[in-house]
Symmetry: D2
Subunit: 80 residues, 4 copies
Amino acid sequence: ESANEFRTQKDSLTQKLQDTESRNQTLEAQLSDLEQRLESSQLEREAFRKSLRSLLELLDSKIFELNELRDTLAKLLEGS
Amino acid sequence: ESANEFRTQKDSLTQKLQDTESRNQTLEAQLSDLEQRLESSQLEREAFRKSLRSLLELLDSKIFELNELRDTLAKLLEGS
Amino acid sequence: ESANEFRTQKDSLTQKLQDTESRNQTLEAQLSDLEQRLESSQLEREAFRKSLRSLLELLDSKIFELNELRDTLAKLLEGS
Amino acid sequence: ESANEFRTQKDSLTQKLQDTESRNQTLEAQLSDLEQRLESSQLEREAFRKSLRSLLELLDSKIFELNELRDTLAKLLEGS
């Protein structure tokens, strides 16, 4: 092959490589961003579930207290 | 004893008897009134207690429903 | 009237008076007993109502606390 | 430059391009996977929050019913 043909092919490959490496960087950035969003979403979810567990415990104690109240009323009715 | 003395005693006894019989009627009336009030009070008490028993049943069903709610929340937390 | 007739009448009246006074005592005793029962019943009723008022206050605070719980859950849902 | 030098450079660039394009495909696949996981996570979150909103409505109706119960008890106390 002639020197000119080689040069043309080399320039073409070099350009293609640059474009592909550029695309790579974009993909890496997007991937990094998505990973952060996913982790952020999971932290949010854990915090949310933790708050809900607290509410569940609180609800349990309210139900317990209402049960004690009904028992007091039942005893009052029995004794009278 | 003379006839006059007997008459006086008889008149005195008759008066005392009338007074005592009159007092009797008053007492009978008071007794009847009190018996009615006591019965009325007991009927009121029974009606009141009956209403309270309904409230106790209603409270029981609310507590049951709150328990089901907490179970649903617990399952939701488990499954997520 | 003869002395014997007076005596008979006097004895008869005296007996009747004794019976009526005896009846009176019975009625007074019954009346006193009923008054005590009525007062006792009213004291019981007041004590019962006082206990119920405490229960009503307690129920109010449980409802208040359940309301706070639902508000916390609502905020949790809004913020997430 | 000689023909051999061009060939060497061309082969080198071609190899580098292949490696970069291969890396690209991996990144595209990872990105696609992460996007699915994120979407899946968001759908889960929406379903979860929807269930919670139902629970909140249910809790509201239980609180309403408890309030009616306390009002009934209050009226009972007033009227007696």
